[in-house]
């Protein structure tokens, strides 16, 4: 089974490898998978507080070439998207773009899970808007 050219391209020239500061309030971090399953993905998004758009993304992946390619592609797709748009990235689109064979579909599922986990983490870090209501109401 040969790898598709797109998988090879992402594997050989991975986009956006690296890490952001997990403590940054504008950064959402998602870590999915497990070492004993053979793949772990860490995906991070950095959201521009002014526009609410994802200005940058980073990944680190322990896994096969298809897992690395799936996460690399995900970071490319995330950039410039709103949170809502990012939530709509589907694993099937990753499968299609990278021409993943059936045995590698789980790599794309993991990438989608990583996106969702990163977004969830980002959202949890944001101060709840309701918390500010009493303060303003007191004026």
């Amino acid at each position: 089974m040969a790898y598709s050219n797109k998988v090879l391209d992402h594997y050989n020239n991975p986009r956006n490898v690296g890490s952001f500061d997990k403590a940054d309030i504008n950064v959402g971090t998602g870590i999915v998978g497990a070492p004993e399953c053979g793949d772990v993905m860490k995906l991070q998004i950095k959201v521009d507080p002014a526009t609410g758009r994802i200005e940058d993304a980073r990944f680190k992946t322990f896994g096969c070439g298809s897992a690395i390619a799936s996460s690399s592609l995900a970071t490319e797709w995330l950039k410039g998207k709103t949170i809502d748009e990012a939530m709509n990235i589907k694993n099937t689109a990753i499968v299609e773009e990278l021409c993943l064979p059936p045995v590698k579909v789980h790599c794309s599922v993991l990438a989608e899970d990583a996106i969702k986990a990163a977004i969830k983490n980002y959202q949890e870090k944001q101060p709840a808007p309701t918390a500010e209501v009493p303060a303003t109401a007191g004026i």
Partner: protein, 405 residues
């Protein structure tokens, strides 16, 4: 100039030696008779070639010519030995002993026998992948009819104490089969000295052609009887019917002859190359674990786990080097290597394992190239690995709650 890609997967199969191919060629186009044709020159010439090969094969393992039964390969040999003994000696007992790290061609026939009412003990191995004769002794019952233990493991290269186990079986009067596919031609094997009653071997692991193997079946002390799997013309003492593939047999014979003559110089050469490879890699990279026994091991086999890096991903990073991995990603089952699991290696490191198989055509230059490429691929992938990052931050990966999927 080094020729790419480099083949370093000689535990999977080997290149057919050109001297073997040369010897085989006339048997396709000139000496093409059926070795069972007793009444003409074509048949006689073919039979003569088969008998010559039989004697070359027997010489490699200290057997006599008539004890060699040709098969299609080691999978068939293992099936014939295990199922053949089980069927023939069923009245005597229904218990077999084997090992958890055997090849599937031994494990699966044993599992089939279990479904047919036999009891099979799968012995565990120690951290280096070895069983002891004591373990076998303790597992024996008065119903035991066969002990089947491989001479050397295909994944980790660990060599079992075959002689001690063989002597124990002899003493207890129990038949002893060994799958010696990986060991034959690489380390000395002698069926008399080691008390072996049945031995599986195959040509393609020793620079012979694919599709031809043999089962050694002892003829005296004791005379081993087998129920055949394949009935027909009664070839091979009735144990394996079917027209003999003469070109393959001729190649097998020459391959055995070469292996026997070259082993005294070839084995030390392979060992030196393997140690160069091991030290070259472990000298430059941290957190590399050796799987299998450090010394009781096939000379050409090296199995390493590169922590924090996944095996298939790593293989992709050294694309001009053909090796294999115990990672689930390289198998259809999505399970990592059961052999490494049996050693207690842990799934995480099993996924990170690479098997290097050096062989007759491996060169020092190739080893240098592989060292460089493995080291740089591992470094690159570790920089991309979230596990390596955590490790560097001092996080104990075993304490992390993973979101398993």
């Amino acid at each position: 100039m080094i020729k790419l890609p480099i083949y370093m997967d000689n535990n999977a199969t080997t290149r057919t030696d050109p001297r073997v191919v040369e010897a085989m060629l006339p048997y396709f186009t000139e000496i093409y008779g059926n070795a069972a044709s007793r009444n003409h020159a074509f048949g006689w010439a073919a039979e003569e070639a088969v008998e010559e090969a039989r004697s070359q094969i027997a010489a490699l393992i200290g057997a006599t010519d008539k004890e060699i039964i040709f098969t299609s390969g080691a999978t068939e040999s293992n099936n014939l030995a295990i199922k053949g003994v089980a069927a023939m000696y069923r009245k005597k007992g229904n218990h077999l002993i084997t090992v958890a790290t055997e090849h599937k061609a031994v494990i699966d026939p044993c599992k089939r026998l279990e479904r047919d009412g036999f009891q099979v003990t799968f012995l565990p191995v120690d951290h280096d992948g070895r069983v002891s004769a004591d373990q076998v002794a303790q597992a024996l019952t008065d119903k035991t009819i066969l002990v089947s233990i491989m001479a050397a493991n295909n994944e980790i290269g660990t060599v079992h104490p075959i002689k001690e186990i063989g002597q124990l079986c002899k003493q207890k009067g129990i038949l002893f089969h060994t799958d010696a596919v990986q060991a034959v031609g690489k380390i000395p094997i002698d069926v008399e000295e080691m008390g072996i009653d049945l031995l599986s071997l195959t040509a393609h692991k020793i620079y012979g052609p694919k599709g031809i193997g043999a089962l050694y079946v002892r003829r005296k002390n004791p005379r081993v009887r087998l129920d055949p799997l394949i009935d027909g013309g009664g070839h091979e003492r009735g144990m394996r019917s079917g027209t003999l593939p003469v070109p393959g047999i001729v190649g097998f014979g020459v391959a055995c002859d070469l292996a026997r003559k070259e082993m005294p110089t070839e084995s030390p050469r392979l060992l030196q190359l393997r140690e160069k490879l091991r030290l070259g890699i472990t000298g430059q990279l941290e957190d590399v674990h050796l799987n299998g026994h450090p010394t009781e091991r096939l000379p050409g086999n090296l199995n390493l786990s590169f922590a924090f890096v996944e095996g298939e991903g790593l293989m992709m990073g050294m694309k001009d080097v053909a090796v294999s991995s115990g990672s689930a990603c390289t198998s259809a089952s999505l399970e990592p290597s059961y052999v490494l699991k049996a050693l207690g290696v842990g799934d995480e490191l099993a996924h990170s394992s690479i098997r290097f198989g050096l062989g007759r055509f491996s060169t020092e230059e190739e080893v240098d190239y592989v060292i460089d490429h493995v080291v740089s691929a591992v470094r690159k992938l570790r920089e991309m690995s979230p596990l390596y990052e955590m490790h560097k931050e001092g996080i104990d990966l075993k304490t992390v709650q993973w979101a398993a999927h």
